[in-house]
Each structure stands twice: as structure tokens, then as C-alpha cells.
């Protein structure tokens, strides 16, 4: 009898204990950052050509996209189709380029390259995985029909866009 009373007292005692909940709150907001990892340089393999291909003495620019939440952004990368600054040119320019995924921070991004959409000078990637993706951009331009580029400084810009979807 005494044991039964003691057990009931323990049960009753435990139910009267006050519980205090301490909330921990946080907020993860989606964010996209565009980093210029490597600045591009044009090589001049022949008098009528400029190219960022390392074989031609150039450096391919590399941009990194960091997204903190999956499936919120589309990356749109455009290789240049005009010079930002150049000496006076009086003949046609033939631009070409290619954008490829060069490095990823997550194995889930392996499908990015196969799923990319290309049109005009634009390449689109759906950033379906959170993390970092490095994109390498190749750019080349030929001047006239075997015509020599005039001496001077040339610059052209890659456009890297991160658009909320």
C-alpha cells in the first residue's frame, strides 16, 4: 500500500514539473552572388584573330555563382559580341564563344552542362542545387577576311546574370 502511494506521488510530482521551451529561430534567405574568379585576357595568335584560348596565348575568364538556396535562380552567361573599347575598326567582326561548367561544389550539379540552353551568344543554366558553380567562358573574334587588327588595346565584356526564377 505504501509503495502504491509512493508511486502515485512520483507520477503526480512529475506531471506538476514546469516545462520551459526556449525557441531558437533562424532565417535562411535565398541569395545569389556573382564572383569574378579569373579575369580574361585575349591572345593574338594570328594578326586577324583574338582569342582567350590558352593555346592561343589567352586566358579564359571564369565566373563563380554562389546560391544559398536551391532552385531559386537561373544563370545566364553571355560571351561578348562587341568590343567595350578598341581602336577604330572599319571591317566586319566575326565573334564566337562557348560557356562551360568548369567546377562545381556539389555532385548534384553534374547535370548542369547537359541541361544548359544555348541561344545567340547566351547560355542558360538552371541552378537547381545550392552551392558554388564555376563557369569558364571562351571568346574569340576574327577581323575582316584575313585582315590585321590595328594596334591598340582591346577589351570586351562577358555578361554574367543571376535571375530569380
Amino acid at each position: 500500500m505504501l509503495r502504491l502511494i509512493a508511486a502515485l506521488a512520483v507520477v503526480a510530482g512529475s506531471t506538476t514539473a514546469n516545462a520551459e521551451s526556449v525557441p531558437i529561430t533562424g532565417n535562411v534567405s535565398s541569395k545569389c552572388s556573382i564572383y569574378t574568379s579569373v579575369a580574361g585576357v585575349y591572345g593574338n595568335p594570328t594578326p586577324d584573330a583574338l582569342s582567350t584560348d590558352p593555346v592561343d596565348g589567352g586566358v579564359d575568364p571564369v565566373v563563380r555563382f554562389d546560391v544559398t538556396a536551391a532552385d531559386y535562380y537561373i544563370a545566364k552567361i553571355s560571351w561578348p559580341n562587341s568590343f567595350a573599347s578598341a581602336p577604330s575598326l572599319d571591317d566586319a567582326l566575326a565573334w564566337d564563344g562557348e560557356v562551360t561548367v568548369s567546377q562545381t561544389s556539389d555532385t548534384g550539379m553534374a547535370g548542369y552542362e547537359a541541361a544548359k540552353i544555348e541561344y545567340d551568344n547566351v547560355t542558360e543554366y538552371d541552378l537547381t542545387v545550392a552551392g558554388s558553380t564555376w563557369f569558364q567562358i571562351e571568346s574569340s573574334v576574327d577581323y575582316g577576311y584575313g585582315k590585321s587588327f590595328p594596334g591598340g588595346q582591346y577589351s570586351a565584356n562577358v555578361t554574367a546574370e543571376c535571375i530569380a526564377s
Binding site: S29, I34, G40, A84, S85, N157
Partner: protein, 124 residues
Amino acid sequence: MKKIVTAVVAALMATTAHAHEWTPTYPKFEPSFMDGIVVTTMELFNKRSDIEYYEITVHDEGWNPVPFATTAKLMYVPYLGKESVEIYIREADCDRIEYICTTSKQLELNAPGSGVDSRICSKV
């Protein structure tokens, strides 16, 4: 020794990365102090040492420009600076606005720079 040199080179390479951030991703417009005008606050963080100016643009679904007002459509944001900007639009335009974007603007005297124009668009 070779490993140390490699690590130092890697660290130096890492510090050359430049970034541009534009938040929030999904801004919401609220009534402003003026009738018929709504406002939202955006924030730009400039981690690009080669860029100090960013242009703000507002677009509809078809990427057509939508009129808006702000203190400066071409923002000066120093390296590692963070700037908040209020964007005002007509309440009547609220339904058709789709994107609020910032695009890096390079000074001609700084050309060729990094050769990268960055643009980030938030979706309304």
C-alpha cells in the same frame, strides 16, 4: 616547402575573387508615404574591387523597362560597401513588375578591368 608555396598561391588566388550581391531575392512592395505609390527596399553589397557603380533597372515579364523612382539610378557603392536603396513605383504598375536588377558599370578609364559585367535580378 612546395606545399606551403602552393597554399600561399591558392590563398592569393582566392582573394582575387570579386562578388556582387543584390537582396532580397523576392522583394515585396508596401504602401509609401505618397498615395498611389508603393515602395520596396533593396540592398546591394559590392565585393568587386574593380567596380564602384551599379545601375538599377526595373522590368516587366517581357524585360521591357518599367518607370520607377529612386535616389540614384546609378548607385555609387565603394568596394566592400553595402547600400540600401528604396525603389518607388506607381501602384498601377505593381501587377506588371517582374524583375528589379542591378548591373555593374565599369568606368571607361578602368578598362579593360576584369572583363565581366555582373547582373543580378530579384523577382517581385
